[in-house]
Amino acid sequence: MLEVSGITQIFGGVTALEDVSFTVAKGAITGVIGPNGAGKTTLFNIVTGIYTQTAGRVFLKGSDVSGLPPEKLARLGMVRTFQNIELFGGMTVLENVMVGLHTRSSSGLLACSLRMPWSRLEEKKIRAGALKWLEFTGITDLADVTAGNLPFGKGRLLEIARALAVEPEIILMDEPAAGLNSHETSDLARLIQRIRDLGITVVLVEHDMELVMDICDRIVVLNLGRKLAEGTPREIQENHEVIAAYLGDDT
């Protein structure tokens, strides 16, 4: 589904990532973990087209998508969420999700201004689609609330609903459990599994080790900008290098 090959990123002389390669299997939940400063978020930003990497390539469904902007990647079926949720704060929850269906609709400036019959029909479909994802994430009752006024946990759900509305084949989540309490985190774990059950490939960067070990099919460990290990949760837990990286080099 997704292949990252030889990614290197240098910021003004500082090497944030060095020759990182791994592949993500279709329909699996893959976790990217590592201590602070390991380069996880940078990697995400490169894969999702927000940064342009110094070297290396990214392949999506076998085709080279290196350097494509996020809006093109969305049309190719890749979408992401943000660590510090990026909602459209001035719009309602429903409208937020409706933006997610942007690529599933096509009415332009003229058709929208004139409210052509087909754009009205499309509008109905957009609304219905958005409502479906609100229901999937369990925030239907918040549909008319202004997104900027949502509590953090609900905002996180909205962001996921909005990303799902793009109907992606792969979704990348940047620390989805950050800022959630333990109850919200276990709900999130179930939600992520339900997303996988829809056939959507999931990649997450996460600090919450319990969550990662619990739901991930495969794990990639980064440390200091390099890939340290890759394997099933069990293999990772038993990997001495990983344990050393987390606990410090002395052990």
């Binding site: 969305a74 990026e86 332009g108 400036l109």
Partner: protein
């Protein structure tokens, strides 16, 4: 839709109340200014991109229409759409480099663009008549009906303005309008959702210039005379004031702002030269105390007052 019909009814019946007279002429300007404010609001209020050069697009529409009809004898109904398309295309072309800039830099760049256009109006004397202006621009006419009186012009201008309001309301509540507001709130998230933010901003810049150009053509054909002084930096600021006072991202707000700023100087005739101070003061006060504009600020104020009143009674 009901709101729009009520609004349109009010506008169409207004002349009965004012029975011609001087104020009709002012209301013609309210119509033109409403179109301009809406055009700018699409860009500033919805897409969140500032322009301090919109008087330039307004002027281009006016001059293109004026020169094509007065000098080259074109039919105004042909000149107007051609002018609009040319101005829209120009804005589309400028839009790509200029909208790469953000915030203060965008403000300065659009300002520079407006001033360059203004200088061109002044300096291309053979074409525009230079600082002394261009006269002899024909009125618009349909068959034997020539729009040459205040009341006729009122209906002419306001039919265009109402259509503009209707179309932009539609746009605001559509897929494109949502995408615009999304870009405004978080450009990166909008792009992740598949919105081509750059193209969308440029498109809306062009649309907003096109609306300004049509307003300019209408201005030229109702005034029958244009001169560069109407299209300078001060007018761009006046437009900005209308949009901010009315309310960013509200179409009816643009009407409110345009009406207020057009009518105010008429009531302050005595303070003629000093209306500019009032603009400046209003602009600052609004940003400081009512950043949502009149359409949001006034209802909020009422709500607060009611709450206070309620609390006192209890």
């Amino acid at each position: 839709m009901l709101k729009f019909l009520a609004f349109a009814g009010m506008i169409l019946l207004a002349p009965l109340y004012f029975k011609g007279g001087y104020l009709m002429n002012v209301l013609v300007f309210v119509g033109i200014h409403t179109m301009l404010a809406i055009g700018l609001n699409l860009l500033l209020g919805y897409a969140g991109q500032i322009s301090l050069g919109h008087a330039g697009f307004f002027g281009l529409g006016a001059y293109l229409s004026g020169v094509l009809t007065a000098t080259y004898g074109w039919n105004p109904w042909l000149a107007m759409p051609l002018a609009a398309l040319m101005v829209g295309a120009l804005a589309f072309a400028i839009g790509f480099p200029i909208l790469k800039l953000k915030g203060h830099y965008l403000a300065m760049a659009t300002l520079g663009m407006g001033i360059i256009i203004y200088i061109v109006f002044n300096e291309t004397v053979e074409l525009t008549g230079g600082p002394s202006g261009l006269s002899g621009i024909p009125n618009l006419a349909v068959g034997s009906l020539t729009f040459d009186s205040d009341v006729k012009n009122y209906y002419l201008i306001w039919s265009f303005t109402l259509v503009t309001i209707l179309l932009t309301l539609n746009l605001a509540n559509s897929r494109v309008g949502r995408a615009l507001r999304a870009v405004h709130d978080s450009e990166v998230a909008a792009r992740v959702m598949g919105v081509n933010a750059r193209l969308l901003k440029v498109q809306i810049f062009a649309l907003s210039a096109l609306i300004s150009s049509i307003a300019g053509s209408l201005y030229a054909h109702t005034m029958t005379f244009v001169s560069p002084a109407s299209f300078g930096f001060n007018f761009s600021v006046e437009l900005l004031t209308m949009v901010v006072i009315g309310g960013l991202g509200s179409i009816y707000g643009s009407f409110l702002g345009a009406a207020l700023l057009t009518l105010l100087p008429e009531f302050l005739r005595a303070a003629q030269d000093y209306d500019i101070i009032i603009y400046g003061g209003l602009l600052m006060l609004m940003v400081m105390f009512m950043p949502g504009g009149l359409v949001r600020g006034v209802p909020d104020l009422f709500r607060k007052l009611l709450k206070k009143g309620g609390a006192n009674h209890a």
